[in-house]
Symmetry: C2
Subunit: 625 residues, 2 copies
């Protein structure tokens, strides 16, 4: 290995202003729990008063889920070389079932640690990792099954509720009835409910004991739908600085977890920088790195190399591992007649290994050994769908569903070890076949959280696959998927840049929220209602601030009506100042109110004689303030 160019990392010391500036119109707040160190971050969006013309009332601030961590907190002191504060450290220590190790357990980790050529890229401030004491199981599932409500679970309960009680008191909880397809949606999330969901495997709380910087979050069909953003350099692009910046960018816009799919020379060091600076759970696909250790020759992979990689990453703090243990030898030939064969990198690595050795997938044969590692650090399984369809034609075929059945078996084994588990899903699926995926996953995997990529609902739009897949993602989220893995516009074409990451996240925040609305998740409609009221009342700034992307909304508005005065204008560029349907509606409302017109008696009342009066008052509605 050559000496590392020092500029690879120099820039990671500072983040661009765009990725850390506060989000317009809102402030970071913390909601306290039962103990002083349970402080749950949320984002509060202030609202202006309703203009006098529309009634002149106050509008309460709206609380929204905040994944952005300390980066959007003006009070936080960000030092990438120090990493984020270890907010969970005390909780982990208090449980007294882990110990700080004297050194790294993985051979690879130790070799990297002592390689002087890596000093320029190595994260400087790492403390030694922890591991479960001998015989201990340190997973949240293990605690949950023993009836223990951890601070992490309480944190999650507060976070999921999003101050809903205050919203309920403010009369903001009105929304349409949902269709939840058999989910157990709660009116109020309690710590006990969180515990119960984790105990029965219906949700996971991914938080490696070596990632104490993470803010607890939960993935399960009875909680808010989450999204994952992938980052990662590849053999042909990108460096550490860029990846850390992408992480901060991704969580700014709402990434609930981030998968680091980096490959290449400094994969280990890149990951360390990412984990130390991430307030969200980090997932990886360890087989990618294992493959690099055998110079890309899949058939040379061994259980020992893979095991060392798991331990290496577990001790860095990775919160969930994609493990393609369901790619069984007997399923591989089922892909031969597909249009696009095996498109999962992990799936194809394992398929190649299986064929080369004519042996069963070593991830399958060593699955309980893997469980032993997972429970010593509380790493969650993300059971990979190595045989997912790569095109519409291959959707819901024997290979895909065979693997899904195996993932169901493996889920039960993981649960036997109290290891938290979610299941990855497709891929490319036309709309009429999406529900079958969800139903089969729920049935085979005992309601373990489903974590799907898209699915893309057509193959014909390269350059727009964030949209082809947001359609499928919204639907499968509605049907019960717990976390949606984003797809960017560059899918199938190239590596996403920062704008692509934003576009991908926005498409998926939309899909996740549309799913929450459709399921009837309590409080989901609060933000829609507030934004629509702001829109109706021409509170332009509030409309921007309540949106998923205030910066883009304002920029778009300003392209047509750039002046500041227009943010106060009671018209918009669509109809111009001389006619406005919103104003007419206000007239209807005033009229109905003044004349006591009720919904059920509109016609019966004496509207006729009042009509002349309305005309006499001047039926023109546009009155500049």
């Amino acid at each position: 290995m050559n000496a590392v160019p020092s500029d690879l990392i120099r820039d990671a010391q500072a983040l661009s202003e765009e990725v850390i500036r506060p989000i317009p119109g809102s402030r970071k707040i913390f909601v306290g729990g039962s103990r002083d160190d349970v402080r749950v971050p949320m984002r509060e969006i202030a609202q202006q008063r309703t203009p006098t013309l529309f009634g002149g009332e106050d509008n309460p601030p709206i609380t929204v889920y905040d994944t952005s961590g300390p980066y959007t907190d003006p009070a936080a002191n960000i030092d990438l070389a120090a990493g984020l504060p270890a907010l969970r450290a005390r909780w982990i220590e208090e449980r007294n079932d882990t110990e700080a190790l004297a050194g790294l357990s993985s051979e690879f980790g130790r070799a990297r640690e002592h390689d002087p050529r890596l000093s320029a890229v190595r994260f400087p401030g790492r403390i030694l990792p922890r591991r479960a004491r001998d015989g201990a199981n340190v997973t949240q599932m293990h605690y949950a099954r023993r009836g223990i409500v951890t601070p992490e679970m309480e944190f999650v309960a507060i976070r999921e509720n999003q101050r809903m009680d205050a919203m309920r008191d403010a009369g903001l909880l009105s929304q349409h009835a949902g269709q939840d397809f058999g989910a157990s949606i709660q009116a109020r999330i309690t710590p006990e409910f969180v515990r119960d969901e984790i105990a029965r495997g219906r949700a996971i709380l991914p938080n490696n004991i070596n990632h104490p910087e993470s803010e607890p979050m939960i993935i399960g069909r009875n909680f808010l739908t989450k999204i994952n953003a992938n980052i990662g350099n590849s053999a042909v692009s990108s460096g550490i600085a860029e990846e850390v910046e992408k992480l901060v960018w991704a969580i700014r816009w709402g990434g609930d977890t981030v998968m680091d799919l980096s490959t290449g020379k400094h994969i280990h060091e890149t990951r360390e920088w990412i984990v130390r600076n991430s307030p969200v759970p980090i997932g990886t696909v360890p087989i990618y790195q294992a493959l690099e250790k055998v110079d890309g020759r899949a058939e040379e992979l061994t259980w020992e190399i893979f095991r060392d990689t798991l331990i290496e990453q577990a001790e860095q703090g990775v919160d969930y591992f994609t493990i393609h243990a369901g790619v069984l030898l007997r399923y591989v030939p089922l892909t031969a007649r597909r249009v696009t064969g095996i498109v999962s990198r992990g799936g194809s690595i394992l398929a190649k290994w299986c064929l080369a050795h004519h042996k069963e997938n070593f991830l399958y044969t060593h699955f309980e050994d893997i469980c032993d590692i997972m429970k010593a650090y509380d790493v969650a399984f993300s059971l990979g769908d190595g045989l997912r369809p790569g095109c519409i034609a291959d959707a819901n075929d024997a290979a895909q569903f065979g693997e899904l059945e195996t993932l169901g078996e493996l889920t039960k084994i993981a649960w036997k070890h109290d290891v938290q588990t979610m299941i990855e899903g497709p891929g490319h699926v036309p709309m009429q076949l999406i529900k079958e995926n969800m139903d089969k996953q729920l049935a085979e995997c005992g309601e373990a959280p489903f974590y799907t990529l898209g699915p893309l609902t057509t193959d014909i739009a390269p350059g727009y696959d964030h949209i082809t897949s947001a359609i499928g993602a919204a639907m499968i989220g509605w049907f019960g998927t717990a976390m949606l893995c984003y797809v960017t516009p560059k899918e199938h074409l190239g590596l996403p840049d920062r704008e692509d990451v934003r576009d991908g996240i926005m498409a998926y925040k939309i899909a996740a929220h549309a799913a929450d609305l459709a399921k009837g998740h309590p409080g989901a409609q609060i933000r829609d209602n507030a934004l629509s009221k702001a829109r109706f009342e021409f509170r332009w700034e509030d409309q921007f601030h309540l949106g998923l992307d205030p910066e883009k909304a304002k920029a778009f508005h300003d392209e047509t009506l750039p002046k500041d005065a227009h943010k106060l204008a009671h018209f918009c560029s669509m109809c111009g100042p001389h006619f406005c349907s919103m104003k007419i509606t206000q007239d209807v409302r005033d009229y109905a109110a003044e004349h006591g017109v009720d919904e059920t008696q509109a016609i019966e009342t004496g509207m006729a004689e009042k009509a002349g009066e309305f005309l006499a008052q001047g039926a023109e509605v546009y009155r500049p303030e």
Copy 2:
């Protein structure tokens, strides 16, 4: 009115190169019908041979639906000031039921025609309009009900089939079974089926006799799902040149119809330029122009002014009119308690009129008079949903559904006059309430085509409403909507520019195609399969060309891998050259083929002893060509 700045129109004489250059990798073809002058344009996408590594076979060209008209035909001579060739003129004349008028029938049209101040913006080449002879009904529905298959119907049948027989012969018709929710999807579209669908009102073929330049197309749930793009300047922006360019741009990317929603000073002249140069049906909302004629004072609108506007526009060749005849007086107060009241401009204009006069909507009371005009020119109804919900909270309420019931009554009246009719639909609707909209529309309106705006599935993403709505559009298209009205990223914020138009159209082409796949429309999957095969075989250029937007796909690819050589590379930027899942799949395939491994006997065959052989052959898969 002031003199017109001459630069308003000067630029309309020439189109930018970007909007008319041929679409990469494809050529315009014409498929002939039963008579010489039935020549149906389609776009044929050429494909390269499969690389030797993957089998080396030829790949047939793929035919796709082409809305772009002569603009993408290098053989066409485009002269905006002359307009497009009147390809339907002979068919219209042959029917011998219309006559050329001696002059314009509308007062307004005549006034504009003789106003010297408008000469700089007036379309120069207009011939005199036609109208039905006294007592004649010239609608396609009227012909259809008398058993006549018009050349327009035959044109449509050929167009909808997209040379499917050739595709079937080439073995390309394999696809998943659809779920069509009771539609009558045909394996092959015959002219007789087109006639029958129009006769029973389940489809419309919008083609005003004064728009002989249009290429016939059909809107109905048993045909390909269509999309509409809105263009139009407003009081605060844009000119004629820009609108004509937007038209050409919109149909380039797949707009099946275009609505001209222009307002402002030169609305009449802008429309003339648009209609004369449009190969797709043009829709308008005549109440917008009528309102301008009374200087924006809705209460001063009269039937006479409106009637003159209908005739003015019918004689220009507008193919369908949005008519908000379902906004009844008794429904207006039902909107008073909504979060966003009445958001349809047309709806609010009529609501204001109703309240001001305390009279029933004059479009409702004069509905049969309107039918008489429609059938004299074959203008189709697009019965407007003036009370559509403007936010999630207001979805599926009494006002919306009351209006829909009235639109159902009006449909039957229109059909009594053999006037073609479609029904406009919402709006903002959360996913779980979408199907109710579709089912109610089918039931109330006797399967008249539904034409929906979105629906947007959440309100919280200003700046991304092409995506919030593409989700709803794909779903409602699947459920039975015949045409989807696009939404651009600028919705709620400003007026779309050219890039916004493209983004909106792409989102809606995706939604429409996803719907066709889900319904199981015959042949819908051909393009997906071809693109996916090209993707698997690393035929990068073919992948771009088969996509909805070849230019963007190539540009995205080139951002990461700009060199031309990379278009031939058997790898992509995601995994780099040293490992590729596609290549591994090819190994699986080769292995299965070589060793006679069948899907059902994979495990039973002697794969074990072959494993050593595979390794011996060199299990490394990346072999540069």
